[in-house]
């Protein structure tokens, strides 16, 4: 396993806005070095030993603190966690030395087939116990705490007995993981399923959140689709202010994965989050 010649920025992720690292921005990020607090990369895109993407992350990594964000473990799958996938996550951690590593509160495979999507879990005690156990096992294997993100939902299970925030709080308390609060996902789920977004945020225990995600979404008829393809909407900015009021200034990522704009546009969007974080720090001072 080759090691980074330059260890890169090793400080913890600051309580500032960061941006998602996308291939179309690789060159611009290195050339322009925009004043973003940190970068987040999708873990699975950097599993490999070589290639343009891996070298681009190594270059970017030397300028910014890094968070690795996985989408493929499916930690809530009853068939268990793919050990090979988990070992690749471990190798990526050893290679890129991220300050944060995150995954999702979802499942992704059954009967040997992977669906390559963030599939929803019923909010039951059984699902919370299983997810917490598999998160704890992954943390033990990886040697670090994970942040677990709430996913956007388009359906509900009649079997759910817990509110989603109770479910997440139980998983965090049992497994020792932190939470990655995706405010856009809260908004999308609240509009699709009639959940009270404010109650969701107020139901998450203070001190359990380690990172916040912001993103845009699309509308398809009456359904909001979490497509990460546009600016953050006004309602999500409002919820973000509520989250920052409750949890304090936290590392905040602006995700933009489809219809990806110029790097300057993404950086400008992250500046909006930085202004709100700055206000929170000012109040706390």
């Amino acid at each position: 396993m080759p090691r980074l010649e330059t260890r890169g920025v090793r400080e913890p992720i600051p309580a500032r806005a960061g941006i998602g690292l996308r291939a179309v921005h690789h060159d611009a990020l290195v050339a322009e070095r925009p004043p973003v607090g940190w970068i987040e990369a999708h873990t699975e895109n950097y599993f490999h030993e070589g290639g343009v993407a891996v070298r681009a992350l190594e270059r970017a990594r030397s300028n910014y603190p890094l968070s690795l964000h996985g989408v493929g473990l499916g930690l809530g799958s009853v068939d268990g966690v793919d050990r090979e996938h988990l070992s690749r996550v471990k190798r990526a951690i050893a290679r890129f030395e991220p300050a944060l590593v995150s995954e999702h509160a979802c499942w992704g495979h059954a009967g040997g087939e992977f669906f390559n999507d963030l599939l929803p879990l019923p909010h039951t005690d059984e699902a919370a116990v299983l997810l917490a156990r598999q998160v704890a096992e992954a943390q033990d294997y990886l040697g670090m705490q994970l942040l677990i993100e709430n996913v956007s939902a388009y359906v509900t299970f009649g079997h759910s007995r817990l509110h989603e925030w109770e479910f997440l709080a139980a998983v965090a308390a049992t497994s020792g993981c932190g939470l990655l609060l995706d405010v856009n996902n809260i908004y999308v789920s609240s509009r699709n399923l009639g959940i009270d977004a404010h109650s969701f945020i107020n139901g998450i225990p203070i001190g359990s959140v380690g990172e916040i995600h912001l993103a845009g979404h699309a509308r398809n008829g009456n359904v909001l689709i979490d497509d990460h393809g546009s600016q953050v909407c006004a309602e999500v900015w409002q919820l973000y202010r509520q989250a920052v009021d409750r949890f304090g200034a936290l590392p905040t990522l602006v995700e933009w994965d489809t219809n990806i704009p110029a790097l300057a546009t993404l950086v400008a969007e992250s500046r909006r989050a930085d202004l709100i974080l700055g206000e929170a720090r000012g109040l706390a001072a």
Partner: protein
């Protein structure tokens, strides 16, 4: 109440088959997950096989993706490996048809995909040969760049691939002779290169671990060809290590 296993099993069945009982509500929204999953699978294949897609058109490529997925569903949370069996699927699916060449084109594109993620090892220059006596040269065994793959096809797939690196490429006449070539990682991305048969045989033998003398014989190279072939592997940075194969045998 259904167990989590039963729920995930029912959800998975409903993803595969829209007519299966749906364990969630509103049932219509399960199509969002089904579409996401289908889209991710197809997008991975589109990314790995852009030339196959270009030659068959979007509609037929979509059909091929669907049939491929029925036969080879995703087995990984890492979408990068989705296309691993696509060349074999096409070879089998199109066997005996006028489109059989698409299987070899897919093989070439998959090698390109693999070269895009393989590490480039530091290469030796020809000066290293000075460390060996004249009598040792024919016994030298080369370790070549791990990203280098060789492909022989009964079809002109290298010509097809090259022609389709630009938009609106015309079809290539499939009655043209078969071709040989290599794919390897370069610092700015994979390189695809057609090879003459002699050089292909020589590289194939070296890749298989044959000593230099044997590789030269098997390729039927004349003296000029030997100099050219030896120069090729060094000037192209393909040699990562070399050793005297005899000393290795003695040691073992």
């Amino acid at each position: 109440m259904a167990s989590l296993r039963e729920l995930q099993s029912a959800f998975a069945a409903a993803l595969r088959d829209p007519s299966a009982p749906c364990p969630v509500r509103p049932a219509g929204n399960l199509a969002i997950y089904r579409n996401n999953s289908t889209h991710s699978f197809r997008a991975a294949l589109e990314s790995s096989f852009p030339v196959v897609r270009k030659r068959v058109g979007d509609d037929y490529f979509r059909q091929l993706c669907m049939r491929y997925r029925e036969r080879y569903p995703s087995r990984s949370g890492d979408l990068h490996w989705t296309g691993r069996d696509f060349p074999a699927f096409l070879l089998e699916h199109l066997h005996g048809t006028e489109y059989a060449w698409l299987g070899d084109l897919a093989r070439l594109e998959w090698l390109h995909e693999l070269a895009s993620i393989t590490r480039i090892e530091s290469a030796l220059t020809a000066e290293v040969l000075a460390n060996f006596g004249p009598a040792q040269l024919e016994h030298l065994v080369f370790t070549l760049q791990p990203s280098m793959s060789l492909l022989a096809s009964d079809f002109p797939v290298f010509t097809v691939w090259q022609a389709n690196q630009t938009d609106n490429a015309p079809p290539v006449e499939q009655s043209l002779p078969g071709e040989y070539g290599m794919v390897r990682a370069r610092i700015d991305g994979p390189e695809v290169r057609q090879l003459v048969p002699g050089l292909f045989s020589y590289l194939s033998a070296l890749r298989a671990g044959a000593p230099l003398g044997e590789a030269i014989s098997s390729a039927g190279l004349d003296q000029e060809g030997v100099v050219s072939a030896l120069g090729f592997v060094f000037t192209d940075g393909l040699v990562c290590a070399l050793r005297d194969g005899r000393s290795e045998k003695r040691e073992s």
